[in-house]
């Protein structure tokens, strides 16, 4: 036992996290983070509480630093850390006075339970949200959110499978042109579109530029979220904010579907106050472009893989303020944006 833990000492949390995300397409970022942290605890040889907490803190910081957009991830790591601390503070066998090995075993088993529950929450949300997809309605949605997909799928199955088609979907697909490496790549969300079409739901796909044109035909807007922030706003795939603004202007209800483990303790004051660095607006002159091209060629010749603007389109996010959101459909019920802070306070105090 000691030998094996010695051998696996250079446990790479970042690689584990990325592996988890790659191998299980159903996994969300916060859950992957929690699972990675649980794995870390199984591999770690730490034997005291403070050591464990210290290790956890260091690895979390390391993980956050090495991921371009750590907002979704930090929801998971914060939650796990909070959960750990409350467990350790509780009196009794598992409290600070108890046997540390018992505490650790308990943590690990509970951590796994947490991961399983989080995966199940998607079904719960689908059950809550089914009522929002009405007969004969048209839903406008975007991005590649798995929760939205499962919600729509459930709604389609509910309405009698292939035969009875009772709702339509307008799917906003962002073009895949940002990906320089393989320009023929499928835009995010195409899989959901196929799945819906297979189950008999008519789907129209539109580019983001046609949202204002098409939103008049939609009855409801349903979007996913990467993180739900403290004031009830959401951090989501780039383009969600403009859909929210348009929905508000047109008087269409704008629903957000998100698991409650995506609630994150961030309080952005606006688009440019997110705790991540995004290169969306870049002012350049012809000279700058020529310079960048030269550098890129130089990098190519020296065999260093360079990814100039491929970061754009697939990773960037924007912030939708709470006043644009009609309701959040979560696994703890349908919440108004102002109820989010209440939920968060409940978790944290």
């Amino acid at each position: 036992m000691a030998g094996s833990s010695e051998a696996e000492k250079p446990f790479d949390i970042v690689a584990t996290y990325n592996d988890l995300l790659r191998t299980d397409p159903d996994l969300t970022m916060p859950i992957a983070a929690i699972e990675a942290l649980v794995l870390l605890l199984t591999h770690s040889p730490s034997s005291t509480i403070s050591e464990t907490l210290d290790l956890l803190e260091k690895s979390t910081a390391h993980l956050k630093n090495s991921i371009p957009n750590p907002i979704g991830l930090s929801a998971g790591t914060d939650l796990f850390q909070r959960y750990l601390i409350t467990t350790l503070q509780r009196p009794g066998q598992l409290g600070p006075a108890g046997d540390f090995n018992a505490i650790r075993a308990h943590l690990l088993s509970n951590g796994r339970l947490f991961v399983r529950r989080a995966k199940e929450s998607r079904d719960k949300i689908a059950a809550f949200g089914r009522g929002f997809v009405r007969d004969g309605s048209t839903i406008l949605t975007n991005g590649g959110s798995r929760v939205v997909a499962s919600l729509l799928h459930k709604a389609a199955a509910e309405k009698g499978g292939l035969s009875a088609v009772r709702f339509r979907v307008i799917y906003v697909l962002s073009s895949a042109k940002g990906d320089v490496e393989n320009p023929s790549a499928e835009p995010e969300g195409m899989e959901t579109v196929r799945m819906l079409r297979e189950s008999g739901v008519p789907v129209a796909t539109i580019p983001p530029s046609a949202v204002a044109y098409s939103i008049g035909k939609a009855d409801t807007v349903i979007v996913g979220a990467e993180g739900v922030v403290e004031n009830g706003g959401i951090v989501s795939r780039m383009g969600t904010y403009q859909i929210g603004l348009l929905a508000k202007a047109m008087g269409k209800p704008f629903y957000v579907v998100a698991e409650s483990h995506k609630f994150v303790r961030v309080y952005p004051l606006g688009q440019y106050d997110l705790p991540i660095e995004q290169r969306v607006i870049e002012f350049r002159t012809q000279e700058d472009i020529a310079e960048a091209e030269k550098q890129r060629l130089a990098a190519k010749s020296s065999d260093v893989p360079a990814k100039p603007s491929s970061e754009y389109d697939c990773e960037v996010v924007d912030y939708t303020p709470p006043h644009l959101i009609s309701a959040l459909i979560t696994d703890s019920g349908v919440l108004t944006p102002s109820a989010v802070s209440e939920e968060l306070i409940k978790i944290w105090f």
Partner: protein, 495 residues
């Protein structure tokens, strides 16, 4: 010189007469209340000895206080009735007499007893530290919600230290009544702030929870300890936490607008400056307290770029603002901000700034300032200060334009001499004199507002900012949207 001097005595005795009469009336009422209490005391001690004694005394004390209040209200009512009679009787001549109601009708319910002007008539139970604090709060020497809360708690600590439980009562029962005297004295100096109210409630709860069997010295030490830790937890450390987290919201190149003199906002800005952030601050201030001056001075001393404007320059100051930081007197349960009058104007101008991105409005507020009350407007609950504060203003040094009062006096004297000589000279003298009375260069044009018919001055202290104009409330328990105020209030009072 003669003209303004003539006017002033006419104004002053009237004011003095009113306040003198009122004082006398109040003193009388208090004396009656005290006598009644003493009588009740005597009866209680004579009738039933032993533990019931304390209860009797307590009841009598409360009754006495209530009686005093009643008497005060009665006196006022009488006065008001007189005034009404005066106005119905009088035609145009009655208006000239200083009986016109100078209260602004909409805020009529806020004119309670006028603030105490001296320690005369204060009960003998009131501790000297509290006596002094009351006057300091009245004169705005101790000003600001947190400062008043801390000062009150510290004064009460001294009260508790000097307190000995009377024979036959227990500390947990009698000390609360003893403190009530101090509290009612303080509230006659200036209405208590929400934070003071919350702190007092916590202290009373702590006193009531003391086991009567605990020795007095021990109980007093425990209470002192409680007060210290309350100040530390709820205000000192909370302020540090808030300043630290609010400073994170300041970025290089920001232009911060702030209003009046919140100590917490000052701490926040100083914390951000210590972190080496480069930003500008625009302090907006208003009459009559000019609290922003202290803020501006402190920020300048810390090496920040500061612009100081009065509130009429708000649209100019808000033009290049990127964030607004506001202090709070209280946050109500419907998420509204109750703060120094003018705050709502600043918040609203920031939100409704034409042709620009929205400017986030950030409120820094300790949870001790949260209240379960609900404020729909700033009329129902507010505080009125003495309207004369608006009048007293230092005239700027004048170089041109207005006649020198000394010269006017000389001219008047010369004219008087010349009156015998002819009508023309008389006229010029009159014009000179009237010019001198119209613009007395060292007195405010409002100086005799009490004699001016149909003129009422309103010196309101607070206003209410609707929740939709506030983006974020930074508290020691984290940053919240204003809608989360009741949740946090519930949690922080349950703990």
């Amino acid at each position: 010189m003669s003209a303004p001097a003539d006017k002033k005595p006419a104004a002053d005795p009237a004011a003095e007469k009113v306040s003198g009469a009122e004082l006398k009336k109040k003193a009388k009422a208090e004396k009656a209340a005290r006598r009644a209490r003493e009588r009740a005391d005597r009866e209680a001690t004579g009738g039933t000895p032993g533990p019931k004694d304390g209860a009797g005394k307590k009841g009598a004390g409360a009754g006495g206080a209530a009686g005093g209040k009643d008497a005060g209200a009665g006196g006022q009512k009488g006065q008001r009735q007189q005034q009404r009679r005066g106005s119905t009787q009088g035609g145009p001549e009655a208006k000239k007499r200083p009986v016109e109601n100078k209260n602004v009708a909409v805020f009529g319910h806020l004119y309670g007893q006028p603030r105490r002007t001296s320690v005369a008539g204060a009960g003998k139970e009131v501790h000297p530290a509290v006596l002094a604090l009351g006057l300091q709060m009245r004169d705005y020497v101790v000003c600001g919600s947190s400062a008043r809360c801390v000062a009150t708690l510290l004064a009460f600590k001294r009260v508790i230290e000097a307190y000995t439980t009377p024979l036959g009562t227990s500390l947990s029962r009698h000390l609360t009544t003893h403190l009530s005297h101090q509290i009612s004295y303080l509230s006659t100096c200036r209405p208590l702030s929400i934070s003071q109210g919350n702190a007092i409630r916590a202290l009373k709860l702590e006193i009531a929870s003391i086991d009567p069997s605990v020795p007095e010295a021990e109980a007093k030490a425990a209470l002192s300890e409680f007060i210290d830790s309350f100040i530390r937890e709820k205000i000192t450390v909370a302020d540090q936490v808030i300043a630290g987290s609010a400073a994170q919201k300041i970025q290089d190149g920001d232009v911060i607008v702030t209003y009046a003199g919140s100590s917490l906002v000052k701490q926040t800005l100083l914390a951000a400056a210590r972190e080496g952030k480069r930003f500008r601050v625009s302090v907006i201030d208003s009459r009559p307290l000019f609290e922003g001056k202290h803020m501006a001075r402190a920020l300048v001393a810390a090496g920040l770029d500061v612009q100081y404007t009065l509130v009429h320059g708000i649209s100019h100051a808000i033009k290049d603002a990127t964030k607004v930081f506001l202090g709070a007197h209280a946050m109500t349960s419907n998420g509204r901000l109750y703060s120094r009058v003018g705050t709502a104007l600043v918040a609203m101008s920031a939100k409704e700034r034409a042709g620009g991105v929205e400017v986030p409005v950030i409120v820094c507020c300790e949870t001790v300032k949260f209240t379960d009350r609900v404020a729909l407007d700033s009329i129902v609950v507010n505080e009125l200060a003495d309207a004369d504060e608006l009048v007293e203003v230092q005239a700027p040094q004048q170089l041109t334009g207005l006649p020198d009062p000394a010269a006017a006096a000389a001219a008047a004297a010369a004219a008087e001499q010349e009156t015998k000589k002819g009508g023309k000279a008389n006229q010029t003298a009159h014009s000179a004199q009237s010019a001198a009375t119209e613009f007395p260069s060292n007195a405010s044009p409002l100086a005799n507002w009490k004699e001016t018919p149909n003129l009422q001055l309103l010196n309101i202290m607070y206003d209410v900012t609707p929740a939709q104009y506030v983006d974020m409330v930074v508290t020691e328990m984290g940053s919240l949207p204003p809608s989360a105020v009741p949740v946090v209030h519930r949690m922080s009072t349950n703990m």
